[in-house]
Symmetry: C2
Subunit: 380 residues, 2 copies
């Protein structure tokens, strides 16, 4: 690793550690222990099978033997401790924590019960906030990575427009986009409840917000929803466009305009909104006003960062306040069961207001990371 890169990453993980420990101190914990790979990466720069421990004095990684050499190479300014997979790792972690006031991101019942037993219940706080609340504000380097991920998605939309054709299947398009993602320097994220890294849904499949990619061929008259999540050096962007093959019916046009307008309202509301509930409401009210309220069956958006879905949540009850450095999606959708669906989504970063007009109506500047057009595109 070139020394400048080493120094830059070291500074970044040290800053992350400080943020997490500062938050931990507020809840009277001197030490944090991370079991979630994203949190361990945030503290150490190492992405792998490992537990991270961080206090004022040192940062340690406990990892199975097969990961030790790789951890030594990528985890900066950390002590690496090797242990047997499973309970041995956990006992080793607990040894390191003896006598400390600990906060952990673990939600695993057995891990927590063993920590309670060995360390004393009052010394262990089950609270991931030091991590989630540190990670909610992205530094400029993190913003840059999310932005690069979003640029890759824009390139993939361009390819989609060229490649979506009658009789080509959803899977064929996905195969191409997945390959391009890697060639463009991105990586894929997946989560357990879906079997595919992207959502590519034509015709009636587009009526399922979380449709599974299928062997269905695209057909004239389809709406095709292309929802792409791409990761760049650990950081994720998430964006969606919906296209039409051939001629769009009046009904499709009407739904499309509704979603497009709702998405625009959502983006605009970010400039003045105080909390994310207001942003959700702005989208939801517009869609309801056009008669599709019951067809908007998910939240307006979510935070993006090391995970696809992280704080802040942009839904009806969203109380989180908007702050510069937050990265989020705005993604309203309307779904007509059995027939078609439309969703439009951008990844966005909230920036400090740069104008002098720092009034209630313009307290944030919005950086929209996706520039691919949102006017209805009819293909073929």
């Amino acid at each position: 690793m070139p020394i400048e890169v080493y120094n830059k990453i070291t500074m970044q993980v040290k800053d992350h550690r400080k943020r997490v420990l500062d938050y931990a101190e507020k809840i009277e914990c001197s030490t944090v222990v991370s079991f979630i790979p994203e949190d361990t990466f945030y503290l150490t720069g190492f992405w792998g099978e490992a537990v991270g421990i961080c206090c004022d004095k040192c940062t340690k990684i406990i990892t199975p033997a097969l990961e030790t050499a790789r951890a030594e190479e990528t985890a900066l300014s950390c002590e690496i401790i090797s242990a047997e997979r499973g309970k041995d790792i956990l006992l080793r972690v607990i040894d390191e924590l003896a006598g400390k006031s600990v906060c952990t991101d673990s939600t695993d019942f057995h891990t927590i019960m063993l920590m309670f037993e060995k360390l004393g219940e009052r010394n262990v706080k089950i609270n991931n906030k030091p991590f989630t609340m540190s990670r909610i504000i992205k530094d400029l380097d993190e913003q840059d990575k999310i932005s690069k991920a979003a640029k890759i998605i824009d390139s993939l939309f361009k390819i989609s427009v060229e490649q979506i054709k009658e009789n080509r299947t959803e899977i064929e398009l996905m195969a191409l986009l997945v390959s391009e993602t890697y060639l463009l320097g991105g990586t894929l994220v997946s989560y357990k409840s879906t079997r595919y890294p992207f959502i590519i849904a034509g015709g009636p499949n587009a009526a399922f917000p979380h449709s599974e990619v299928s062997a269905r061929p695209f057909s004239t008259g389809d709406t095709v929803t292309v929802d792409l999540v791409v990761q760049y050096w650990g950081y994720v962007a998430d964006a969606t466009r919906t296209f039409v093959i051939g001629h769009a019916t009046d009904e499709i046009k009407q739904v499309y305009e509704c979603v497009k307008d709702a998405q625009q309202i959502g983006l605009e509301s970010l400039r003045s909104a105080v909390n994310f509930g207001e942003v959700d409401l702005a989208c939801r009210n517009l869609i309801a006003g056009r008669g599709y309220g019951s067809r908007f069956i998910h939240s307006t958006g979510h935070g993006i960062g090391l995970e696809v879905h992280e704080l802040p949540w942009i839904n009806k009850t969203g109380k989180e306040k908007l702050k510069p450095g937050m990265s989020i999606t705005i993604e309203p959708g309307v779904y007509i069961n059995g027939r078609f669906g439309v969703r439009i989504e951008d990844s966005v970063i909230i920036k400090p207001s740069i104008g002098k007009d720092d009034s209630l109506h313009n307290r944030n500047t919005i950086s929209n990371l996706n520039s691919f057009p949102k006017d209805l595109i009819c293909l073929g």
Copy 2:
């Protein structure tokens, strides 16, 4: 869905439910509740964001609104209940469980504490064995799917042999293989502690068992480890080959032969072994005998099925008994830090002995699902 397919899948999920409930009864539970997507799929045929509940009388799926329509289409003979994401779903699940003796696969601390509080601690068992012990034996349809996944991997090895060339990068090869996987009807699995669906590791990277795919170009003299996991209709196969670019040094040849022989001994030991600890020991002893014992830094294998890593574990302490219908990997490896590594892995199904010689020395027949050659291949 054609009626024959519908009937076949319905019979299969009903058989799965019976197995899981029979096991649950042994631990005095009348009802099982699944939070893990693989377990919910096993019970219902639906893969998504959902909780499954199964008792003698009925099978239910609790799912957020955005998944309801898709669940109705793919979950066979199940009642679908819609609830708000998060705590609302959990409370709805708990309502359904009132008055029952429940067993759950959840390991989530907050879920379990709420179930204890609302249902009474003595009515809730935290025990995933009804699922893991049912899933450990694969029926013929499941075996067929794992076998098809393995055939896709064999095709990908063939492509790898054609495509691994000096100056091509690990990422470029991965991009191609990922695309081919989808075109061949497979899907990709990933787990949180790795950022890539495959391991493709050349030269010094091959010395990391869990190397991350990188932009490093292949170079003459490299060993290149290609470790592929492919899923076919939910079921996973996992296999590895290691190639050499150009001329193999005597040291590489020696390590390669050692790993190849160890893998062969491992496979052969499956015919007579009583438990999986013996299989691990057979591989480990051979490698130790050749002087590389300290370089074999992981277990010999693991079960494969709906997950990449599931029961049985094939390691030093593996007490699980070999039984027909189990599907596993045999994957010894030797890693020379900073320079190179070799791993060879097949996916295998244990079948009942078909010969008359059903003696202690030949109690199982082994079906090796990967037929791609294992002799050292020097490329380019």
